[in-house]
Symmetry: D2
């Protein structure tokens, strides 16, 4: 139902792949933050199509325009509306698909729910709609960077069956972020990244697609974000990640492997690290009782392979007739490289909202 994320720092997204524009409205951004398009564009560039040979060749500059909420490059407290106009639409690519339910796309469910499909590239179901998340997330990131020590880094940890080794040592987070951006796959190990890139190109040639896993690390989150019940920090993060198109699984901390451990192994012992309470292990993934404890938050997010493939597939059309489908639309053989900034933005939106909400958790601080 809702296209709104957040309680205070609140993002409403709009737009479809086929329409005039995609964008978002960010409410309740505190006033006085310096903000211009240059703060937003870099993350959009990391997400935009056509940035490398392993992404879709659709040409979209994805240039953002701030329509409201700033004055003389400062936020005013009013809703910040941002739009990106769609430029390279090719409706004719989809003409022959108008009545076909593409397997594992949203064609059938949209048709069933809304009585139409607003086709051509997925419409509202297109990953293009995540532009609003990335744009809003860039503001959230800026707030976190100015008011906390939090650093958010996502990267591709596996593509199909090629994974970072279990022994992979996460480098210092600044270095990690630089390594991630050195290759089009956004995997921090350059050698494995090259293997992944080869695989994606190979799969693309075969007219097929692959999935994979993105890891997310949030270093130095403020202590105390989240709350006990439905807005637990882990629940909020799981929700926003599962809401990214193609995501099928989410783990926080020990995740599924934690289900095979005993309490005596899994419990994270507290110790006093020169006055700061820390934990010796971090199977909790930085969140206990739904609230951040200051340790790094880490998550793993599983993406299914892209539903659009060039291989022939059996399906039905909206009359229920059997159809053999061979897709023509441009698409990514693997969504993960472009999903890395989306994952980071989604995390930043949740953290920033919770950071604001945490301002009044204690009466004495009012």
């Amino acid at each position: 139902m809702s296209s709104v994320l957040g309680t205070i720092f609140r993002t409403t997204t709009f737009g479809e792949s086929h329409g005039k524009a995609v964008g978002c409205v960010v409410e309740n951004c505190p006033a006085g933050l310096e903000l211009k398009e240059e703060d937003i564009q870099p993350d959009l560039d990391r997400r935009k199509p056509g940035q490398s040979r392993i992404t879709t060749q659709r040409k979209e500059p994805d240039t953002v325009s701030i329509l409201s909420g700033t004055y003389q490059n400062k936020t005013t407290g009013a809703p910040i509306s941002m739009v990106v106009y769609n430029e390279d639409q090719r409706e004719k690519d989809y003409g022959n698909l108008e009545h076909v339910f593409r397997p594992s796309h949203a064609d059938f469910t949209y048709h069933a729910k809304y009585g139409h499909r607003a086709l051509t590239g997925g419409g509202r179901a297109s990953a293009r709609t995540t532009i609003g998340i990335v744009a809003a997330g860039a503001i959230a990131k800026k707030i976190l960077s100015l008011k906390t020590n939090t650093v958010i880094a996502a990267y591709v940890s596996s593509i199909h069956k090629i994974s970072l080794p279990l022994s992979f040592a996460i480098p210092e987070i600044g270095l990690l972020k630089r390594e991630v951006e050195k290759n089009p796959v956004r995997c921090p190990d350059q050698k494995i990244a090259a293997e992944m890139e080869d695989l994606i190109l190979q799969v693309s040639k075969e007219g097929d697609s692959v999935g994979g896993v993105i890891d997310l690390i949030i270093e130095n989150p403020p202590v105390g974000l989240g709350s006990p019940t439905f807005d637990r920090l882990d629940a909020l993060l799981a929700s926003v990640m599962m809401g990214i198109p193609a995501v099928k699984g989410v783990e926080i901390g020990s995740g599924f492997s934690g289900s095979q451990m005993k309490g005596s192994e899994h419990n994270d012992a507290f110790y006093n690290d020169s006055g700061r309470i820390r934990t010796r292990s971090n199977f909790s993934g930085g969140i206990q009782g739904g609230i951040s404890n200051g340790e790094p938050i880490y998550m793993r997010i599983a993406f299914k392979p892209t539903a659009t493939i060039k291989k022939e597939q059996e399906t039905v059309n909206d009359k229920g007739e059997r159809v053999i489908l061979r897709s023509a639309g441009r698409h990514d053989p693997c969504v993960l490289p472009r999903a890395v900034p989306i994952v980071e933005a989604a995390a930043a939106l949740i953290l920033t909202d919770q950071f604001l909400l945490n301002k009044f958790s204690k009466f004495e601080n009012l």
Copy 2:
């Protein structure tokens, strides 16, 4: 921040392990539904402590009382308030823990966020607070059972390293639900359930604890539930499941294993099954583009081992001093058997809300 779940069929929970009562308020339940305490109590009985030798021995009848929202055993459209009074509190069990941060509990994060711990059994962090979810979920289940063909079944599929075999064939769902209730573990395979029970007892004797995985199957969900963006059905289900205490991972459909498949394997081919559009496989887990397609929704939910164990543990107190902890409070050596009704209730709350919201997805149906 929020103790509220849902947009229309909305549940607010309240209560702590140490207080007078726990409960919930359910808003916007349509008027005219027959409802009395007898509709609510059975699921609370499945969740209550002391129901078997593998659960905590705290004695709580967990008898629910409907305070408002019904008249002559029918809902009136007004908020339905339900309470369960706490009876067997033993604050003294926790007396010696007042200043200790128990590992992997919420003691430290609550202390950091709220400046206190509202201790004794976890307070608001206690799984006892899920009583409100189970009570509200019982109403949701009743609505679904009367207005749809939806059946929701959860069961324990693994405890520590004992799992249902990959070859486990899910029986017809009514039979499944009966088999699940035949043993205290709530695993549908009686032989494996017995092994699991033995393990739990063994671990309990060792003063340790274990985690595991609960599987959730929703058969015959209405087509069209969920929406494109932040309220995707998968995002909502992931959120509410990750919000259950001790959950660390959530998968829908193919989950993490789907990340290792190719599109040509993973895509669920549509076919015409005597007029109903169905899919030959169901790696989507019944949800495509965030919206239910009518196929069974299935999820896997990973629980960490119980944080409370009797084994000695290193930790610190609220002065930052090193402490050796040996817990005394009554607790479950494994939370999964009692979490089965919580998982079902949480799913029912999401589905019912989305079922109502779906009433106006099409203009022609207004």
Copy 3:
């Protein structure tokens, strides 16, 4: 639809006149506030029935019980649930009304909307449901009193055609509040209060009822509460006041009389009062652009006469048959004296929520 008020400091009310209890849940009250039932009871006592000879003689002690959200008499940050059990229900008083639509009651609209009436005393439509507002409002008042200089005072300014004179000079607000409580009408002028009381008694004898106006003054509100658009402070106050049963009109500042003034008369000139920016007049009623400017907020709230009267009335029953109605239920011949604490509580809830929200209006304050 919603029984929830507020964005952060959020109150959900529940309960009906005929049910077991009425009450509320208050979410996101900051942790560490000292709170016990004694903080809540005085305002409930000002609202309770039977407190004088001009109120209904229903006997309800209206004793509040805090079920959750506090520990050792301090708030914990968890939802605060409060209940008042109904004691003196007399369903038989209403037996003969079961099928009758009482004029200007909610009988017909509830029947039309919900298909039933949950009768006996108005059910959810009863002013008894404002107990939740008064209880939650008592917490809000305490927060305001400890963290701001804000003082909220409401009083009866007219009953039927008896009004405070236009020349009535509002005394110092502490004195005002004391004068208000010196008579059962809650009018600060003792002589006029006596006239009002006589009128109410006279009207009651005639089997009739009267309405009137309550004035609300909020002294020393924090500057900056409210926001530009739908959550303007004036809009929020108007909404919560119009939501009190029997209210038909709301004015802020100059109100309707302001519509007959010219800009040059109505504009409130700013001046520098020893460093504090103030206005010479206050036709704005302390709110400009939807945001408080620090001047006293003042409102006038019009209440219609009580719908329940003993005089014979023509109406229809739920079969559409003409019926002559003569009511028997106990009722107030004038609701205003008991509505004074409701108006204050409603204002306190809005102000406290906005006070918390205002914590992050400026980026520099984060």
Copy 4:
């Protein structure tokens, strides 16, 4: 805090007088409604500046563009984003005001709350921000017109001390709407309208401004809209009306005059009108217990005189220094004629949301 209105049919507005654009996002408009810019533009034209000699001469075509949420001129169920670009900005008109707090404007409160003023024409405080309400309201009106018999009509009933006579007989609503549009004041009595127009011109020449009252009539509203507590239909309408810039008072039904009536006079007797339950009088204004009873809803909305006047005024600047202000910016000497479509749109938004919500008030209708 919130720039969002509605629970289901939800409008988020954005934009300022000084920025690039103003607009809105409408969520959860049911799919399949025919919608194009031509449906929106007429009401924007009724609101736009420069439409007559009694409105501001700022030149804005206020041409709306639908950016998302439609496909082939039908709504898709996705968020509908609409924008109007600002064209005739004259920042220099405001240059000399940059540091001055204009009396009864939002300059001081915005400065206090947000630390800046986003000046030039009021920024977010400008009535220009109601464009989003009018655009969204046009969709709401279309839904009501296609699915109900509801007709919404607003008109100017008084300007300063010139009022429609008490004996004014409201004509048939279609005729009323046509008469209203025959003169620039939007008063349905042509003779009185001419007097009002003369007064406005006279006042404008004097460099002064006037206020007035707008009456709102909603004929044939669906029975059953609204709900018992905080979302009472009267509370929602009062809130959205009080949120329109310059509004200081709101009455529903008998309003303040009802406070001087006795119950026996005020109660609206029910009768059976050929099978439809109606009331003989309508002091309730079509709303009882917060829910519509099918009778016409009528409201009176008081507007203060425009704060911007050309006459000299005393005030202070942001250093607290005394300043004599003489405004230069273009402005309306009376806001009411252009506020008529805003009032209608605001009412339509509330009614449409409640119309959708009412779909599941009864269990039997699910």
